[in-house]
Assembly symmetry: C2
Homo-oligomer: 639 residues x 2
C-alpha cells in the first residue's frame, strides 16, 4: 500500500542521511515526519535561528539600537517557531522516546528559561530597574540541540569525551606553572629588578603565575624575561627550560590527547552509524518484502523497488535508477534479497559523475557550421596546452598592471582589455565544451572564473557609469572592483598540478570546516554575551578625527598610561556584538592577549583575567586543537 | 676458532645496535672494528666534538676571548682526532664501500675545508687583513656525518624527504600572501591611514608582504590591523579571512605534510632496519653453524652460543643467559637452528626486570632484629598508603613555607625540619626495601628524590657554614638551595596515578628528544655562526648601572626611537655565541621576532630580514613541526 511505501521510503532516507529518529510508524505520524523533513521547514528553522542570534545586533549594547518591544516581539516570534517545531517533533516520535532524549529536554528548558527571562526583564525595564538578559547565552545552544544539529552535537560529544583526559594534563600543566612561579619568585623576587616601565619585577606570586601562563602562549616573549636576562645571563636558562617544558612539550601533549580522543571517538561513531544504517534498511526491507515462492527467501521486487526509489529520490533520472537496480540485482532475477537491498542507502549516496558525451547544442542547431574546418581548428586551439599557458601569461601581466598605479589612464583603460580577454576565454570554452558539463557541480574553477569575471564586469561598468555621470566614484564599488580583480589571479594555481591537489584537498574538507565554524560561533556567542555584560561601556573608541583628550586613554582615566591605551586598542572592546566577535578573534590568535586582558582587568577588577584565561583554555587549547586534529586527519585520508 | 667467534660477535652486536657497517671480514679488520666500537673511543670522539663546537665561545666574537693561536691549536688537535677516527674507519671497512658512503666523503671534505680556511685565516690575520672563519658553519655537520650519528642522520633524511612536499605547500602559501598583499595595497594603500608611530600604513608592497608574513606567525596581531580597523569595521574581515587561511589552515597543512612524511618515512626505515638486522644475524649463524648429523639442518650448539653471548655481552649474568637459551632452544635439543638463532639480537635488547626477592641486607646481618615485631610494624607502616599521604601533606606544608618570607628566622629554621623529614623518608624506605631494588635503573623517582635531597642538604650546610663564618651568604649557593627546595615539591605528582602515566610517557620519549636536541643544535650553530658574521657589534648592551646616553639606543644611533630600543632588546644580539643562541631561541618562540628582525635590518640592510624569515621557515615550520609530529606519534604509541 501507499502507506507501506511511505514508511519504507522514510527508513531509506533516514539511513541515507544518517538520521537517527525513532519515529512513530503509524501512517499519520509517518506523513507528519515526511513533512518534518521537508527542506522548506528546515530552511525556515535555520532562518529564524539566524534571526534569533542576530537580535544581539539590535539589543542593548547594540550596533543599531532598536526599542526593546521590537526585539522582544521578534524574539517571541522566533520562540513560537521553535515551539511549533518541537511540538511537530513530539507528534512524530514515540512519547517515551521524546522525553528520554536530552536534546528535546534541552530545547524545552531553553525556551522556558528564555520566556521567563523576557518576562522578568520586561517587568524590570517597565519599572525602570536594571535588568540583565541572561538567557541570551542560551540562544546558540538551540543550534546544537535542534534535530538537524547532528554534526555539531557530535563535535560537542567528542569534546566532552576528551575533557577528562585534557583536564588531567591541564592539572599537571598548572602544577608545573605553580612550581616554576615559586622558583621565579625565590630566584628573582628579591633582586630589586624592575620592568621596563619601572614597576617591580616578579615580586607577586599571582602576577608571576599570570605572566608565566601568558609566556606559555608566547605572547609576552621575550619581554617577560628581559629584566632577568639583562641582570644575568643564566636566568635566560630558566625561561628557556620553562618554554621547552610548558610551551613545546605540554602544548604538544594537549594536541596529542585531543587528537587521540578524536580518532578513537570518530571510529566509534562511524561504527555506530553503520550499525544504525543497516538496522533501518532491514526495517525498510521488512515493510516491502514478499515471498515469491513457498518457503523461499523473502525478496523485494523490481516494481516495489522502483516505486520506493522514486519516492526517496524523485529527481533521479531513469537511467541512473536502472543502473542502481542492475548493480543490486546482479544475477538479473527481477527481485533482490535482504543483503542486496541493504546496500541501497549507500548506493544512493554515491554520486555518479556521468560523463555524458552529449553533443554540443550548437552542433544540434547548425551542425554544418560547428563541424566546419575553422570551427574544428578553434576547438583544437582552445583545448591545446598553449591556450592555458597564454592565459597564465595574461594573468601574470594583469598582476603587474594591478600592482602599478591605477591613476595612470593607460593602466586604468587596460582593465577593459583584460576584462575582454577573460570574457573571451569563457565564451571560447563555452563554444568548445558542452555548457552543462562546463558548469557541472564539480567544476569548481569554471564556476569561480565565471562568477568573478561577470561580477568584475558589472562592478567595473557601474563604476564607470557613476564616474562619467557624476564625476564621483563610490569607494565601496571601487573596493569591490579591486578585490575582484585580485581574486581573478587565483585562477593561475589551477594550472599547476601540485597546487591543484592541495587546493582540491582543502575544498573537499570545506563542508566539515563549516561544522567547525558553527561550533566556534556557539562558543564565541556565549563568550560575547558574557563579555558584553561584564565589560560594556568600560572602554570607548573615539574616531580618528576626534580631538577629545579622553581619546588618549579610551575614555577611561584608569587606562591612562597602560599598554592598552598606548597601543591604541580602544576599538577592541565589548561595546557591541560585532566588536566583541572581532575581539574574540584577536584573543583566539592569542598575540597581545595579555595586554587586552590587563586592559579590561584595569577598568574592572583583576579577576576579569579569569574570563580571558578561560577563553584561552576552551578556545585555543581545546577547540583549536580539535580543528588541527581534524585537518590532520582529513589530510591523511585525502592527500 | 677465536676469530670466527669474534666475527660472529661483531655481527650480533651490529644487529643489536642497528649498526649498518660493511666491515672487512679479515681477522685483522675485525679486531680493528671491535676497537673502533669501544665505548672509550666514542666518548673521546664526542668529547673532542664538544671541544670543537665550544671553540666558538673563545673565538672572535668571544664570550671569553683567547688568542687566535690558542684556539687554532685546539682546533688542529680536534681535526687530528677526527682524521685518526676516519682513517681507523677506512681500515675497518672495504675500500670501495668507504668511498661510496657519502658520510665519509662529507667528513673528509669538512676536514679539508676547515684546514684550508684555517690557513687562509691565519695568513690574513698575520698580514693584518680582515678574515672570516667561514668553515665554522661546517663544524656541527661533523656531528651528523660521524658513524655514531645514525639517529641524527635519520632525522635529516626524514626532513630531506619531506622537503619537496613542504616546498610546494610553501609556494602556494607564498602565493596566497602575494595575493592578499596585493589586495591590501589596493584596499588600504590610498586611504592615507597611518601607523601608531605616524608612518604611512600599507603603502609599500614589500612592507605589506613582510607584515603579512609576520601576521601568519601572529606576532604583530592585532597591531597590524588596528589602523585599518579603526578606519572601518569591515577591514577587520579582511584580516580575519587572512588569518583563517594562512595562520590556521596553511600552518595545519604544514604540520599535516610533515607528519605524513614522517610516518611514511619512519615505517620504511623500520622495515629496512628489520631486514638488515636479520641479514646480519644470518651471517653470524653462517660463521658458527655446524652440522650435527649427515644431511641435517645446520645448527649452533649451546657451547658456541654461550661463548658468543659472553663475547657480545660480557656483563650478562649466568642466570639471564640461561634464560635466553631456554627461550631459544624451547625443545631442549642442546642446539638451535637458524630461525631461533636470528632472534638473539632482539632477545639481548629485551630488558628483563628481574624481580629479585633477594633478602634485605639487614636481614642477613641481624635477622632477629629485622624480623622482630617492632621492625615488622615499621615496615608495614612505611608501605601503607597513609605513609605516602603523610609525606604528600608534608610537601604541601613545605610549599606554603617556601612561599612565605624566608627572612623570618622561624621559617628559615623550618627548612632544617623539612630536610630532616625528607632524609628520614629515604632512610625509612631504604630500611624497608632492598637497596639495589630501590636504586634500580627504572626507579626514576627514587633517584630523583635522593639526588635532590642530598644536594639540598649539602647546599644548605655550605650556605649555613658560609653565613656563620663570614656573615656573608653567596647568592649563587642560595639560588641553588632555592631551586632544589622547589624541585623537591615535584615529587608529589608521582603519588597521583593519572599524573604518573603522563609523566612516564614523557620520560620514555626523553631519549628521542635528545636526538631532536642534537638536530636543533646543528641548525642553531649554523645560524649563530652566520648571524655573528652578519650582525656582530651592531647592537651593544649596556649594564643597568651604565649612564651612557647611548644605552637608550643600544649604542647604535640608527636604533634611536625604534621598537627594538624602546623595548630594551639591546641584549638580544649576535655579539657572542651564547647571546646568539638565546636570541635564536627567542626567534624560535616567534613572538616579537618582527621587532628583532627589524632592529637588525635597521642597523644593517633591509635584506637582513631574509635571514630571519629563512630561520623561521627552517626552524619553526619544518623542524618544530617534526618535533610535534614526533611527540604526537610517541604519545599515540605509549599512552
Ligand atoms: Na605570539
Amino acid at each position: 500500500s501507499e502507506e507501506d511505501f511511505n514508511l519504507a521510503a522514510i527508513y531509506v532516507s533516514d539511513a541515507q542521511y544518517n538520521r537517527n529518529v525513532y519515529f512513530d510508524t503509524s501512517p499519520q505520524a509517518v506523513r507528519l515526519y515526511m513533512l518534518y523533513n521537508h527542506w522548506a521547514l528546515k530552511v525556515l528553522l535555520y532562518f529564524f535561528m539566524l534571526v534569533n542570534l542576530s537580535l544581539a545586533i539590535f539589543e542593548d549594547p547594540a550596533v543599531y539600537p532598536l526599542p526593546i518591544w521590537a526585539t522582544m516581539l521578534v524574539e517571541i516570534l522566533c520562540l513560537l517557531i521553535f515551539t511549533i517545531r518541537v511540538i511537530h517533533y513530539a507528534k512524530v516520535i514515540l512519547r517515551d522516546k521524546f522525553w528520554k532524549d536530552p536534546k528535546n529536554i534541552c530545547i524545552i528548558v531553553i525556551l522556558t528559561l528564555t520566556l521567563v527571562d523576557m518576562i522578568i526583564y520586561g517587568a524590570l525595564k517597565a519599572a525602570n530597574y536594571y535588568g540583565v538578559r541572561w538567557s541570551r547565552v542560551l540562544r546558540p545552544l538551540l543550534l546544537v540541540n535542534v534535530t538537524e544539529g547532528r554534526q555539531l552535537r557530535r563535535a560537542f560529544r567528542s569534546i566532552r569525551n576528551a575533557l577528562p583526559q585534557i583536564f588531567y594534563v591541564f592539572l599537571l600543566f598548572m602544577f608545573s606553572i605553580l612550581i616554576f612561579a615559586l622558583m621565579a619568585l625565590k630566584l628573582l623576587g628579591k633582586r630589586g629588578l624592575t620592568n621596563i616601565n619601572g614597576t617591580p619585577y616578579f615580586t607577586s606570586y599571582l602576577e608571576i603565575m599570570f605572566d608565566l601562563y601568558v609566556l606559555v602562549t608566547t605572547a609576552n616573549s621575550p619581554d617577560v624575561m628581559m629584566p632577568a636576562y639583562n641582570a644575568n645571563f643564566f636566568f635566560a636558562v630558566f625561561f628557556i627550560v620553562y618554554i621547552l617544558i610548558n610551551t613545546y612539550i605540554f602544548m604538544s601533549v594537549f594536541l596529542a590527547v585531543v587528537y587521540n580522543n578524536y580518532k578513537k571517538y570518530l571510529k566509534e561513531e562511524v561504527r555506530q552509524l553503520v550499525r544504525a544504517k543497516r538496522h533501518k534498511m532491514v526495517r525498510a526491507f521488512g515493510v516491502l518484502q514478499e515471498q515469491r515462492e513457498e518457503g523461499g527467501e523473502p525478496v523485494v521486487t523490481q516494481a516495489s523497488w522502483n516505486q520506493l526509489v522514486r519516492l526517496v529520490q524523485p529527481n533521479l533520472s531513469n537511467a541512473h535508477r536502472e543502473l542502481l537496480w542492475s548493480v543490486s540485482d546482479d544475477k538479473n532475477q527481477g527481485a533482490i534479497g535482504k543483503v542486496a537491498f541493504v546496500q541501497l542507502a549507500d548506493l544512493l549516496n554515491i554520486e555518479i559523475i556521468t560523463i555524458k558525451s552529449r553533443p554540443h547544442p550548437l552542433q544540434s542547431l547548425c551542425p554544418s557550421l560547428y563541424q566546419s574546418a575553422p570551427s574544428k581548428l578553434l576547438c583544437q586551439l582552445v583545448q591545446h596546452r598553449a591556450f592555458v599557458m597564454v592565459y597564465d601569461l595574461i594573468i601574470l601581466v594583469n598582476a603587474v598592471f594591478i600592482g602599478l598605479d591605477e591613476e595612470n589612464p593607460m593602466i586604468a583603460n587596460s582593465e577593459w582589455v583584460f576584462l575582454a580577454l577573460y570574457i573571451l576565454e569563457i565564451l571560447l570554452k563555452l563554444y568548445v565544451f558542452e555548457p552543462r558539463v562546463f558548469f557541472s557541480k564539480h567544476s569548481f574553477w569554471n564556476w569561480f572564473d565565471t562568477v568573478i569575471v561577470i561580477s568584475a564586469l558589472v562592478a567595473t561598468i557601474v563604476n564607470s557609469v557613476m564616474k562619467s555621470s557624476s564625476h564621483f566614484s563610490s569607494r565601496q564599488i571601487l573596493d569591490i572592483v579591486f578585490i575582484l580583480r585580485v581574486l581573478r589571479l587565483i585562477r593561475v594555481v589551477d594550472s599547476i598540478k601540485r597546487f591543484r591537489t592541495i587546493i582540491n584537498t582543502l575544498i573537499r574538507i570545506g563542508p566539515a570546516i563549516l561544522t567547525f565554524g558553527q561550533l566556534i560561533i556557539v562558543v564565541y556567542y556565549i563568550f560575547a554575551m558574557v563579555g558584553m555584560e561584564l565589560f560594556k561601556g568600560k572602554v570607548t573608541f573615539y574616531e580618528q578625527s576626534s580631538t577629545d583628550p579622553a581619546k588618549a586613554y579610551c575614555g577611561n582615566p584608569l587606562l591612562n598610561g597602560t599598554d592598552f591605551a598606548k597601543l591604541n586598542y580602544c576599538k577592541n572592546n565589548f561595546n557591541d556584538v560585532v566588536s566583541s566577535f572581532i575581539l574574540l578573534v584577536e584573543l583566539t590568535v592569542v598575540n597581545q592577549w595579555h595586554v587586552l586582558s590587563s586592559g579590561f582587568a584595569t577598568v574592572t577588577h583583576i579577576s576579569a583575567r579569569i574570563f580571558f584565561v578561560l577563553f584561552h583554555f576552551i578556545v585555543v587549547i581545546v577547540i583549536l586543537n580539535i580543528f588541527v586534529a581534524f585537518v590532520l586527519e582529513a589530510f591523511f585520508v585525502e592527500y
